[in-house]
Amino acid sequence: MKNEIIPYILANYPDLQTTKELLIHCHKLGIKYVELGIPFSDPSADGPVIQNAATKACINFNFDNLLAILLDLKKQNINLEITIMTYANPLYIYGISNFYTNFSSANVKGLLVPDIPFEERKVLTRKNHSIKNVWMISDNLPSASLKKIVSNSNFYLYLVAYLGTTGKNIQQSDSLKSTIAQVKKIKDIPVAIGFGIKDKNDVTNILNIADGAIIGTSLIIELDKSLNSAKEFLNNIIL
């Protein structure tokens, strides 16, 4: 991963057909990595925009319908590298082994669970599957924890831009830079930054210091206008 724009797409918002079209559009634009969010009724890491969207999208969501769409995209040779972002309970209830088995055959490469910290990783541990855990880090972690997390990562790390929920304003900060430097000293592994990245300008700034920029809330705000606005928004950022 290098210089990558990573859209956060909330599955089933407003419906799965839209999710599918957005994924196809990402592929057309040459986007390689996507973070695909599973809607949850009580999203503790999200600000009002994603929270509102998720409370609607979670009502008739189920993993198997999403799986069907991902398998269909794969059949069409639309091969994005997908990281599933889900809160712990939907995943736990679906079954963690189930998830690994079913979703690894559908281009899902990573799993990110904002309410399962590295300390509780046992819950996610299963043998024999290809999906990798993506851990979240932040600039307030003691260096010993950072070291453990980084050395145990083998896909990329998700660095949250600030302490708080999604959708606030990102601040350019030296501490982000120094956290990335610390990571790279431990292991040569990509670092993507998420939370508060709103527009092309933010993306450019972030890609100066990190390998990936995750963009979520703004995309949902555009999607609230129309699917076309969301597509155009992505076009503008990529092109």
């Binding site: 309970n89 910290p117 590295f118 307030n140």
Partner: protein, 386 residues
């Protein structure tokens, strides 16, 4: 002890964002120091005795006992300053917060009793206080909103989701995430991520310690039954904890059965839920087949919550305690019975424990010794029962 590395058997843990792990570590270290610090412990004890009015009486309910042909004792947490057991915990935690150098206190509240107890402790210690409360709860527990404001706290109505306790908890965690440097999250029940369930139990076990002594003194025996209502589980774990090694003592937790056992109509987490991961811990939970958190209902705001503290899940699975549910109507009837029979207006939360006691009394050996934890007083509920 069952408690090992943040878990009670399979239940517990620290299921929160990675960014809050340093705050939980800091809290755990401070709590370990607190327990060894004579000065903090003395300050806590002094406040319990002279500010709260402990020990609270274990009252032999003479009219009920006669009527039911049992020996019914009420542990009178309703007589505490601020009107419930919640103050035992907030005074302990506020000393802990001060020991950590925190200047700002945040809390969630359902019925408003924990909010009032937190606002009280913060006023006493001269600290800034913000309380998150579901908008629906601000309406149905209006007197407590007024009390918090008079005590100098800022009350933030939460308008997401069901607008009740679980949303208030989520918003408080979000505040803590952003402000962990100077802010202490004073959690109100024996739930959430480790070490909160241990901290809250530590400060609430005074209820059971006193009750055990008082019962022996009054009857020469241990009780046959100890009964408490269960929301998050703090008054229940507080009275259960000192009895868990006494194998003859039956421990019974009473949940809110609401209108019925169908989806969204109750909050009988242990009776009707199954294990899941939510708001910091792995514990019994009410969630849908796709893992979304279920809406809940109870006449009592303090029990209106889809989760429960992890130690109760352990006590249930290990069968050391038994958990049952009573309906809104049964709790209301018990409210009126206690008011008329004994001249005590119980909180609607505590009325659940009473309602089950009345049922139990009809089925067990006559003259059994039954302790009911009267966790709070009912003044806050007049708008609902009228």
């Amino acid at each position: 002890m069952v408690y090992k590395k943040n878990y009670y058997g399979a239940y517990g843990g620290q299921f929160l964002s990675q960014s809050l792990m340093p705050a939980l570590d800091e809290l755990k270290s401070a709590f370990d120091l607190f327990k060894k610090n004579k000065q903090y412990l003395a300050e806590y004890k002094d406040l319990l005795n002279n500010y709260v009015g402990r020990p609270s009486p274990l009252y032999f309910a003479r009219n009920l006992s006669k009527k039911l042909d049992q020996q019914i004792f009420l542990k009178r947490e309703d007589l505490n300053h601020t009107g419930s057991h919640k103050i035992n915990n907030t005074l302990g935690q506020i000393i802990l917060a001060k020991s950590m150098g925190k200047t700002r206190i945040i809390a969630e509240t359902g019925a408003g009793q924990h909010g009032v107890a937190t606002a009280t402790a913060a006023a006493l210690m001269n600290m800034e206080c913000v309380v998150y409360m579901g908008e629906e709860d601000t309406q149905r527990q209006q007197p407590n909103v007024q009390r918090m404001k008079l005590l100098g706290a800022k009350v933030v109505p939460v308008t997401t989701g069901c607008k009740t306790l679980k949303e208030a908890v989520t918003e408080t965690f979000k505040d803590w995430l952003a402000n962990q440097k100077d802010t202490y999250y004073l959690l109100g029940s024996a739930m959430g991520p480790a070490p909160y369930p241990e901290i809250v139990k530590y400060f609430q076990r005074i209820i059971g310690q006193e009750a055990r002594k008082q019962c022996k003194k009054l009857t020469g025996q241990l009780p046959d039954y100890v009964i408490a209502c269960v929301g998050g589980g703090s008054n229940a774990i507080g009275i259960f904890a000192p009895f868990t090694q006494d194998k003859t003592v039956h421990l019974i937790g009473v949940e809110a059965g609401g209108h019925s056992s169908s989806y969204g109509k109750h909050c009988a987490t242990l009776s009707l839920g199954k294990p899941g991961i939510f708001q910091g811990s792995y514990s019994y939970l009410l969630s849908t087949e796709t893992g979304q958190i279920s809406p809940t209902h109870s006449i009592s705001a303090g029990l209106d919550y889809p989760g429960v503290g992890p130690e109760h899940s352990y006590l249930k699975d290990s069968k050391r305690a038994q958990y049952v549910a009573v309906s809104d109507d049964e709790a209301l009837a018990a409210f009126h019975t206690l008011s008329k029979e004994e001249g005590i207006l119980p909180a609607l939360e505590s009325s659940h424990a009473l309602a089950y006691t009345f049922k139990l009394a009809a089925t067990v050996k006559k003259n059994s010794i039954i302790i009911v934890n009267l966790s709070g007083r009912g003044d806050k509920d007049l708008g609902i029962v009228n």
